[in-house]
Amino acid sequence: MLEISNVSVKFGGVVALDDVSANFDKPVSGIIGPNGAGKTTLMNVISGFVRPISGSVTRDGQDLLRLSPHHRAHWGLRRSFQTEEIADDLTVFENVLVQIDHSQTAARAKWDEVEKMLDLVGMAARADKIGAELTGFERRLTDVAKCLVGKPRVVMFDEPAGGMSTEESRLLGALIRRINGITSAQVLIIDHDVELIREVCIETLVLDFGRRIAFGPTADVLEDPKVKAAYIGTEEI
C-alpha cells in the first residue's frame, strides 16, 4: 500500500499541497483535479523532486522521503512525465536500458528484459530507431516500456494521454491496465481525461487548490457533488 500522510508543500507563500493524505491500495489508482490543484506536485513529492514541509510517503514500510530521486528509482519507483522524456540520440532499446543500467544483474538478462518489455508495448520492431525518429505515441510507448523494466513497485504516469488521439488514448489505457498483472507494480495516474481515469482507475483521489476533496472508488468519486463543482463550478446564488 502506498501511504501518503499529511503531506504539505509550500512554494513561497503559495500552499501547493495542504495536509493531503491518501492510502492507495488498489492496483491502479488515479489523481485528478483542475489545473493548479497540486496533482503534479504530489507526484513530484512521491518521486523526490519536491521536498514537503511535513508529512510522509511510505510503501511496504519504506519511507520514500528518505531516499534521493535516483535511489527511489533503484528501489522500484517509476514515473513518466507530461512530455515523453526520451533521449533523441539514443535508440529505443538504449532509452529503456538506461532505466536498469544501475542494476547488478548480468548484461544479457537486462537486454532480454528490455526486449521483452519492448515487445509487450509493441515497440520491438522499432528497437534500433533513435528517439528523434519516433512519433509522439511511439515515444510514449517507449516511456511505458521504461516504466516496466527492473521490477517496478510503483509506476506513476503524469498525463500519459496528453496530446493523443482517442484511439491512441484507448490503446494506452489498455496497456496501463495490464501493468499490474505483468509486474505486480501499483499504478498511479494523473490525467485530465476523466474517461481514461474512469476506464482504468479503481480508486481516485481528487485534489482542488492543494486540498483533498474526495477519495474512494472512481465511480463514486466522479459522482461526488464536490468533485463536479470543482470541475464545472457551482451556481452563485
Binding site: S47, G48, F49, S68, P69, H70, A73, H74, R78, R79, F81, E85, I86, A87, D88, D89, L90, T91, F93, E94, L97, V98, Q99, I100, D101, H102, W111, V114, A127, D128, K146, G150
Partner: protein, 332 residues
C-alpha cells in the same frame, strides 16, 4: 541491439584519417610543419574533451587549457625529477589533471550554464597566475624545478624521439582519446549523459546519479587535457605560461563550437583552425591575428546557420551525396 564493438562509417573515416596521419603525413612535412601538426594533434585531444562535455551534457568548461598546463607541469616535473618512462609521466600527469578537474567540478556542478562557465573561467585565471608566477619546470632545483636560462628539454618516448615519430605517436594518442570517449558513449555513462542532457529530472527518475555522471564527464575532460599537456611538453621540450592563458580556454571552446562539438571531426577541424591556420597565414606573410577575425566569422556562421558546426555540415553533405548516389544506382 547493435553489438558494442562495431565501426560506424564515421568511425571508419576516423580510422583511415588516423592511418594517413600516422603513415603518410610525417614524411611529407618539414621540421616547422611537423611541430605545428604535433601541437595541433595535442590540442585535438584537449578540444575533444571540452567538446565532449558540451555535446554530451551541455556543460561549458573554460578551464581546459589550464588543465593542459597542469598536465604539462606535472609531466615536466616528473621528467626532470625521476627517471620514469614518458608514458608513465604522461599517465600520472593526466590522472592528476583528472583529479583537479573533479575538485573543480564538485562545487561548480551545483551551478549551470553561464555560472558554471564563469566558475571554470575563474579557475583558468587562477591557473594562469600560478603558471606565470612559478613557471614550468626545466630541470632546476627545488619543488618548482625552474633553472635560470633555457634549462633542459623533456625526454620523449624512446619509440618516438624524432619529430616524425613523435607526430605519429601523438596522433595515435589522440586516436586512443577518441576511442576512450566513444567507448564511454556506447556504455552506461553515455546513456546516462544522454538522459541528463535531455532532462536532469528524467535522468534521476531513470536511476542515474546526476552528480556522479557529471563529475565523471569532468574527469574525462580533465584526463584528456592533462594527457594533451604532457604530450605538448614532450613536443616542445619546455613550456611557457603564455601557452596556457585563460583566454586560450575560451578560444578552444569557441573553436569546438565552430568545428562541431557533436562529432569527432569537429575537434580535428577546431585544432587545425587553432594551430595550422595561423601558421599558414604567417607563411603567406599575413598577420596571424587575422585568424581571430576568421574564428569570429566562423563562430557567427556556426551560431546562426550551422549549430552542428563545420563538421556537422560536412557529415550532412556526405550523407546527401551518398544518398543521391544510392538513388542513382538504384534507378540504373
Amino acid at each position: 541491439m547493435k553489438s558494442l564493438i562495431h565501426v560506424t562509417p564515421s568511425g571508419w573515416t576516423g580510422l583511415i584519417l588516423a592511418a594517413i596521419g600516422i603513415l603518410v603525413l610525417p614524411s611529407l612535412l618539414g621540421h616547422f610543419w611537423l611541430s605545428v601538426f604535433t601541437s595541433a594533434a595535442c590540442f585535438t585531444l584537449a578540444i575533444a574533451g571540452v567538446a565532449f562535455m558540451y555535446a554530451r551534457l551541455g556543460l561549458v568548461s573554460l578551464t581546459q587549457v589550464g588543465l593542459m598546463g597542469v598536465g604539462g607541469w606535472i609531466a615536466l616535473r616528473l621528467n626532470h625529477a625521476l627517471d620514469l618512462p614518458f608514458e608513465l609521466n604522461a599517465a600520472i600527469a593526466a590522472g592528476c589533471a583528472m583529479l583537479l578537474s573533479w575538485l573543480l567540478a564538485l562545487p561548480a556542478l551545483r551551478m549551470r550554464g553561464l555560472y558554471l562557465a564563469l566558475v571554470t573561467l575563474m579557475a583558468a585565471g587562477g591557473l594562469e597566475i600560478i603558471f606565470g608566477t612559478f613557471k614550468f619546470p626545466n630541470g632546476g632545483d627545488g619543488f618548482w624545478g625552474v633553472a635560470p636560462g633555457s634549462g633542459e628539454l623533456m625526454r620523449r618516448p624512446w619509440i618516438a624521439e624524432s619529430p616524425e615519430a613523435y607526430l605519429r605517436y601523438v596522433i595515435a594518442c589522440a586516436l586512443l582519446g577518441f576511442l576512450f570517449i566513444e567507448i564511454h558513449r556506447r556504455l552506461q555513462p553515455g546513456r546516462a549523459w544522454a538522459m541528463i542532457r535531455r532532462s536532469e529530472a528524467a535522468a534521476m527518475a531513470a536511476g542515474a546519479n546526476v552528480t556522479l555522471y557529471k563529475t565523471w564527464a569532468f574527469g574525462i575532460a580533465g584526463l584528456l587535457a592533462g594527457a594533451a599537456g604532457a604530450l605538448l611538453a614532450g613536443s616542445l621540450g619546455v613550456l611557457d605560461g603564455g601557452t596556457f592563458r585563460a583566454s586560450e580556454s575560451i578560444m578552444i571552446f569557441a573553436l569546438a563550437i565552430v568545428g562541431g562539438a557533436q562529432c569527432w571531426q569537429g575537434a580535428v577541424i577546431a585544432a587545425i583552425l587553432y594551430k595550422v591556420l595561423p601558421a599558414l597565414l604567417n607563411l603567406w606573410g599575413v598577420d596571424a591575428d587575422l585568424s581571430y577575425a576568421i574564428f569570429g566569422a566562423g563562430l557567427l556562421h556556426a551560431v546562426i546557420t550551422a549549430p552542428q558546426g563545420v563538421a556537422g555540415q560536412l557529415v550532412a553533405a556526405t550523407q546527401r551525396l551518398y544518398a543521391a548516389r544510392k538513388g542513382e544506382s538504384a534507378r540504373a
